[in-house]
């Protein structure tokens, strides 16, 4: 008998809570209470709609725990991190690859970098024609002497 009375009062409280819920005034604790009420056995038929509503939400909540979804979530996080890092590296590569390192000290001034680059290019490119240089080393006097030496042997 006591239990019946309790249930009666409980359902009237549930009515109040549902009313509050439709008005959008319920707290999360109160919504928890509604959920608990709705799981009680012997619930009157008038609560079927609410049961369906909350049942739907519960199902939605339970879904992520099933099957492959947690792995998928992790894969998404990993992919997101990879994309962020990759874009950062691309950004760094496009903006920071122009540099000169002099005695271990990095400089990013483009004009200075370019002048260093041109200097190294001029180090590699021949200053004068090597054959021409070889000829210049021999002055006229030497040339004549060499030519005469060739004929002196005859």
């Amino acid at each position: 008998m006591n239990i019946r009375i309790k249930h009666k009062t409980d359902f009237s409280k549930l009515d109040q809570l549902i009313e509050k819920y439709y008005e959008g005034m319920t707290t999360s604790d109160e919504e928890k209470q509604i959920r608990n009420f709705l799981t009680l056995p012997g619930l009157p038929k008038r609560f079927e709609v609410e049961k369906e509503i909350f049942g739907y939400y519960d199902q939605k909540k339970k879904k992520p725990h099933a099957g492959i979804l947690p792995y998928f979530r992790w894969a998404c996080v990993a992919a997101a991190v990879a994309i962020v890092v990759f874009s950062l590296q691309v950004y760094m590569n496009t903006n920071q690859t122009n540099y000169a390192c002099i005695d271990g000290k990095k400089i990013y001034d483009v004009t200075q970098i370019k002048s260093q680059a041109l200097e190294s290019l001029s180090d590699v490119s021949p200053k004068t024609n090597e054959v021409e240089e070889g000829f210049n080393n021999l002055n006229d006097h030497d040339v004549i002497k060499q030519q005469l030496d060739v004929f002196s042997g005859l």
Partner: protein, 158 residues
């Protein structure tokens, strides 16, 4: 069952972290010069005292249109010169030797035209001088222009 699931999740997380780390380590090494031995020269001597290293990407340099220009100049370091020569011997395979100057049996100037990598023409230029001081210059160039045209520009007398 729950324990098994947890263990599975843990190992998946572990693999993901490893994959990410491997990925981050791999991305910076996607440059075309990394298949060459001379990349080690830039790594080893680039930030040392007495060295000047330059890296330019997609820049115009007095008429030269380079996708990548990388150079290093090292002063008074004969060991570095020997190391570069060793690297160049390995990089020579498959490359066309455009120029080589040998002084007292040692190559002091080498120009290499490397095989194309994708759309990029690649060149390695090396020079060693001894006056007034020992000076090594090593240049690596990547360009969309024909490497012969790039060489012509560089070899023109200054």
């Amino acid at each position: 069952m729950v324990k098994k699931k947890r263990y599975k999740m843990k190992s998946i997380k572990k693999y993901l972290v490893l994959a990410l780390l491997a990925g981050f380590g791999f991305f910076p090494n996607l440059k075309a010069q990394n298949d060459l031995q001379i990349s080690r020269v830039f790594e080893l001597y680039g930030e040392k005292k007495g060295s000047v290293m330059v890296e330019l990407t997609d820049e115009m340099l007095e008429g030269y249109d380079f996708s990548l220009f990388k150079s290093i100049t090292i002063n008074n370091n004969p060991q570095a010169a020997d190391f570069i020569r060793k690297c160049l011997t390995k990089d020579e395979t498959g490359a066309k030797k455009v120029k080589q100057v040998v002084t007292n049996g040692i190559p002091t100037s080498i120009y290499l035209q490397l095989p194309r990598k994708g759309q990029l023409f690649r060149l390695i230029l090396f020079n060693e001088t001894f006056k007034p001081v020992q000076k090594i210059t090593l240049i690596y160039i990547e360009s969309k222009n024909d490497s012969e045209d790039v060489l012509k520009l560089i070899l023109k007398k200054k």
